[in-house]
């Protein structure tokens, strides 16, 4: 999925990642959704946003699928950890990346135990996303 392939857009040529990939942003904060969407649009045009874990789970139940899910920890209705557990229980293999405002070191174990592949402190940056994509390219 993150291997070499035909170039699909100028922005991704500039960033250096040639393969298309889709992203789901899950966060109750509209500011974070806007910022992360703008950041990720430098890497891909296939971006969708939802406001909480339940909406993310419902999307998958309706048949949608994404290569990477960026999911906040603290959200109303269904938080990031609960949503991750639910998605993994459904057999979802997407890369799930936790994003938190809290102290990451104390929460990393919770994220990994829930089934997340990686976690970052908010807000995401270009450097964090490049590092994540590089890691995913290596593992694939």
């Amino acid at each position: 999925m993150f291997g070499k392939g035909a170039s699909s857009s100028k922005s991704m040529e500039i960033i250096g990642y040639e393969k298309k990939f889709s992203v789901l942003i899950v966060d109750d904060d509209p500011i974070i959704r806007k910022i992360h969407s703008a950041l990720l649009s430098k890497f891909t045009k296939e971006i969708q946003e939802v406001k909480n874990g339940k909406e993310a789970v419902d999307l998958y139940r309706s048949g949608a699928s994404f290569d990477i899910i960026f999911i906040d920890k603290e959200m109303p209705i269904m938080n990031g950890l609960e949503a991750t557990k639910e998605l993994r229980a459904m057999g979802v293999n997407s890369t799930i990346v936790g994003v938190t405002s809290c102290d990451l070191s104390s929460e990393r174990n919770d994220f990994i135990a829930a089934g997340q592949n990686q976690c970052y402190e908010k807000p995401l940056t270009i450097e964090k996303i490049k590092s994540l994509l590089s890691e995913l390219n290596k593992n694939n």
């Binding site: 509209p30 500011i31 974070i32 908010k122």
Partner: protein
Amino acid sequence: MERSPLLRQVAHQRQTLFDEGLLDEQFVRLEELQDRTNPNFVEEIVTTYYQDTSRLILNIEQELERRPLDFGRLDGYMYQFNGSSTSFGAKKVKAECSLFREYCRAGNGEGCMRTFQQLKREYATLKRKLEAYFQLARQARLTQTASPPG
């Protein structure tokens, strides 16, 4: 090419926001996301921030009137406020949010109320200065478009 006086004024006003400690490097990262397809991105973020956090301010004000104070609830609201303020680089507001949360953890109602008043002052000051900056920046862009370099 020498900058016009208006552009120099915009640059100076922008620098003042950092020199006075109102903004941090996260604001710069947001500016870097601005491009031709998204020219007003930072202003949109700031507008969304003030719309969203005005609701939080109201909630916190109402909570601070209750007796006894629910520090857990107050901390929850301030956690959200802190997250939003951090996301666009509102440095002084963020500092007051952290202080408020410390007072919540200590169960110090007086400290919470005092800090909240200071937070609102910093929040209003930042709003006023950002609005002035964005207005000036828009003026400068219009002037540039009207008189292309020749």
